[in-house]
């Protein structure tokens, strides 16, 4: 997701930068252009007017060659010009110029020297200047015949204001454009990234094992083509996996069918061999050994077929766990007595009742004991049981040859016969079955070599509910032995 956000951010930054640059160039250019055009036009107007005034209006008033302030006042020139919004300053050369308005007193001295020089040379000149605090265009000149210099002061603050407003409007427009750019970036990003995100979600579902996940094909562009490709890939994958699963299921069903079909003849064989086994001594010497081997081999065949059937039930996921409260200590004692009575078991002081499936627990422990008997014959076998509130650990420890470290994981594989020279009665499925039962109970088996030599295989079972039995309750559970007082009433039949 962070990468997608990155794409989104990059897109937004790029778009905003582009829009900002464009807006800045356009804004600056437009305001410069307008500003220049307005000033030029004002200047042209002012210059034309000034030329006209100096050559027509001023001579028309019949001023003397060296007019005084009073002459100018009397001529009414200032009023004429004011009607056109133009103030007038007349440099009479006396250092006391005529001004048409009170606040223009002294303004002449503050006009740019360059302007005054050019006017003095008889040119028509202009300057943009602040006059009495107002942005103004000043055009100066004198009659061609000579005489006093006239300066026409025109207020151009309206131009400045107009350009200022234009700039403000342009800035506002730019901001609006930026906002639009941001929104556009989001929308474009969503449009571009939606298929990417959809594909990402689909890939995630496939990763979790849902092979039916597909990407919606919403367009005919490159994204659409790509989504279509993705979907074809997913379909091909699902197809392959389905084929493999079918093949595997067929394989397993075949094993299950074989085991199932063997069941009835096997049941007959087992019963028959058991009778032969009872009467081996009655057989003539030349067939007795064959009889013994027959009995042993039927046992081997039986455990192999039964274990194959048991495994095929796991493969068919036909196994269900039936939880019930189980007194683990009693169960361990009972299984030990049945399967390997010589194994040492020192029960921990308080027994525990655990919610689990007793038949599976029996099977696991029984198979571990069988394994110890098989692979560590005549070695002392110990059973360890420890229970914490979180987990139960039930281990079978032998003093046999152990297993090479590299093969420890493999001992739970089906038909894992690590020592090919050993052809004992075991099918090589016992530990695999125990591991399947352990997994079904939510636990696992772990194998390790002991420091003192030998192998330790332990069932580790996480516990949901464990309760200690109150001390001294054992007798109550075992129940009274025969001969205990009978608590119910006894009365002779009349």
């Amino acid at each position: 997701m962070s990468r997608l956000r990155g794409v989104r951010a990059r897109l937004a930054v790029t778009l905003v930068a582009l829009v900002a640059l464009t807006a800045a160039v356009l804004g600056v250019g437009a305001s410069w252009f307008v500003d220049t055009r307005l000033h030029d036009r004002a200047l042209q107007d002012a210059a034309a007017q000034a030329g006209f005034d100096l050559s027509v209006i001023v001579p028309g008033r019949q001023l003397p060659a060296a007019p005084t302030r009073d002459d100018i006042v009397r001529s009414g020139l200032a009023e004429t010009f004011r009607q056109r919004n133009v103030e007038t300053i007349v440099d009479l050369g006396s250092g006391d110029p005529f001004v048409s308005r009170e606040d223009l007193v002294g303004a002449l001295d503050r006009l740019p020297a360059d302007l005054r020089d050019r006017v003095a040379r008889g040119e028509l000149a202009y300057a943009w200047a602040d006059v009495a605090g107002v942005p103004s265009l000043v055009v100066g000149g004198r009659e061609p015949a000579g005489g006093p210099a006239f300066y026409f002061v025109r207020n151009v603050s309206d131009i400045t204001a107009a350009v200022g407003q234009l700039r403000l409007a342009l800035a506002a427009g730019a901001v609006l454009l930026l906002v639009i750019a941001l929104l556009a970036a989001r929308i474009v990003a969503r449009g571009v990234l939606a298929p990417v995100e959809a594909a990402s979600r689909a890939a995630e579902r496939i990763e979790r094992g849902d092979l039916s996940a597909r990407v919606p094909v919403t367009s005919r562009d490159e994204f659409g083509t790509w989504a279509d490709r993705f979907n074809r890939m997913a379909a091909a994958l699902a197809d392959t996996i389905a084929r493999l699963e079918v093949a595997q299921a067929q394989n397993r069903r075949f094993v299950a069918d074989v085991a199932h079909e063997l069941r009835t003849p096997l049941a007959a064989l087992v019963a028959e061999a058991s009778i032969v086994g009872e009467h081996l001594d009655d057989l003539p010497p030349e067939s007795r050994r064959a009889g013994e081997l027959l009995v042993a081999d039927v046992r081997r065949l039986r455990s192999l077929v039964e274990e194959l059937m048991e495994l095929s039930r796991f493969d068919a996921a036909a196994e269900r766990v039936a939880l019930e409260p189980v007194d683990v200590m009693r169960l361990v004692q009972a299984v030990t007595a049945a399967r390997l009575a010589t194994a040492r078991f020192d029960p921990p002081a308080p027994s525990v009742v655990v919610d689990t499936d007793p038949r599976r627990l029996e099977r696991i422990l029984g198979n571990l004991l069988d394994n110890a008997r098989e692979h560590a014959p005549d070695s002392p076998v110990e059973i360890e049981l420890s229970v914490t509130p979180e987990q139960l650990t039930l281990g079978v420890l032998d003093r046999g040859p152990g297993v090479p470290e590299g093969d420890l994981d493999r001992i739970f594989d089906r038909f894992a016969k690590l020592d090919p020279s050993r052809h004992g009665g075991s099918s090589g499925l016992g530990l695999a079955i125990a591991a399947e039962h352990a997994a079904l109970l939510g636990g696992h088996l772990e194998a390790s070599n002991r420091d003192v030599g030998g192998l330790r295989i332990a069932l580790v079972l996480p516990l949901a509910v464990t309760r200690s039995l109150p001390a001294g309750d054992e007798t109550a559970i075992r129940g009274p032995e025969a001969g205990d007082p009978i608590s119910s009433t006894r009365e002779p039949i009349p």
């Binding site: 069941r263 049941a267 007194d327 049945a338 039949i493």
Partner: protein
């Protein structure tokens, strides 16, 4: 021991070798190869025990067992192909007393048959006592249980279970203890035998089998009769 056994089994080899094994052990054995024939023979002759395969042509073993239970409390031992919960529990609920899992070795089967017959034989004729459990009156010698004067029909297994629990009323009997005492398993029998038998017993003697008042479950330990 000249007990007469009816063996109902469809596979000829298994039927023959099982019959040989039982005869070697001293039993008289009659055989039938399907459920219908088995039921006919059962109704025609007197037997001490029935060995019943579950998967049978024409009439399956469960049906045969239910039909037998309508008229007789004779011990019935099922031969089941699998020790699957469904097969075992359904068989026991049909009224079987015990089951033997196929494949079996003949001595193992003979031991189960003997244990089932022994319970029948253990008729304590001299024990003329009566027990009571709540409203129930248990006549040990007559192997009869009455409630308000009406007799409740119980199989031998159910009766033995009721007597054992009642004799130790108030005490918890673990399931493997009961398996040992009632079914004669010295180790690791299937505790579902006990659970199903208790369930069937409750259905017959409790006023409300869903809320038992006479035979109580002690979670994680076993069962006890109310004192």
């Amino acid at each position: 021991m000249d007990a007469r056994i009816l063996l109902v089994e469809d596979d000829p080899s298994i039927r023959e070798v099982t019959a040989i094994g039982l005869r070697n052990a001293g039993f008289t054995v009659e055989t039938a190869s399907d459920g219908r024939e088995g039921l006919d023979r059962f109704e025609a002759e007197a037997f001490d025990l029935v060995l019943l395969d579950i998967m049978l042509p024409r009439l399956d073993g469960l049906e045969v067992c239910r039909a037998i239970r309508k008229t007789s409390m004779i011990p019935v031992v099922m031969l089941t192909a699998r020790a699957d919960t469904i097969d075992v529990v359904v068989g026991l609920e049909a009224g079987a007393d015990d089951y033997v899992r196929k494949p079996f070795e003949v001595p193992e089967l003979v031991a189960r048959v003997r244990a089932a017959l022994r319970r029948v034989g253990q008729r304590p004729e001299d024990d003329t006592s009566r027990l009571t459990l709540g409203p129930l009156v248990i006549d040990i010698a007559g192997r009869a249980v009455t409630r308000d004067g009406r007799e409740i029909p119980l199989t031998r297994t159910e009766f033995d279970l009721l007597v054992d629990l009642t004799r130790h009323a108030g005490q918890v009997l673990a399931r493997d203890t009961l398996l040992d005492r009632i079914w004669g398993y010295d180790y690791l029998g299937d505790s579902r035998l006990v659970d199903v038998a208790v369930g069937r017993l409750r259905a017959k003697i409790e006023a409300d089998p869903a809320a038992p008042a006479l035979i109580l479950t002690v979670r994680g330990a076993g069962y006890k009769a109310a004192r």
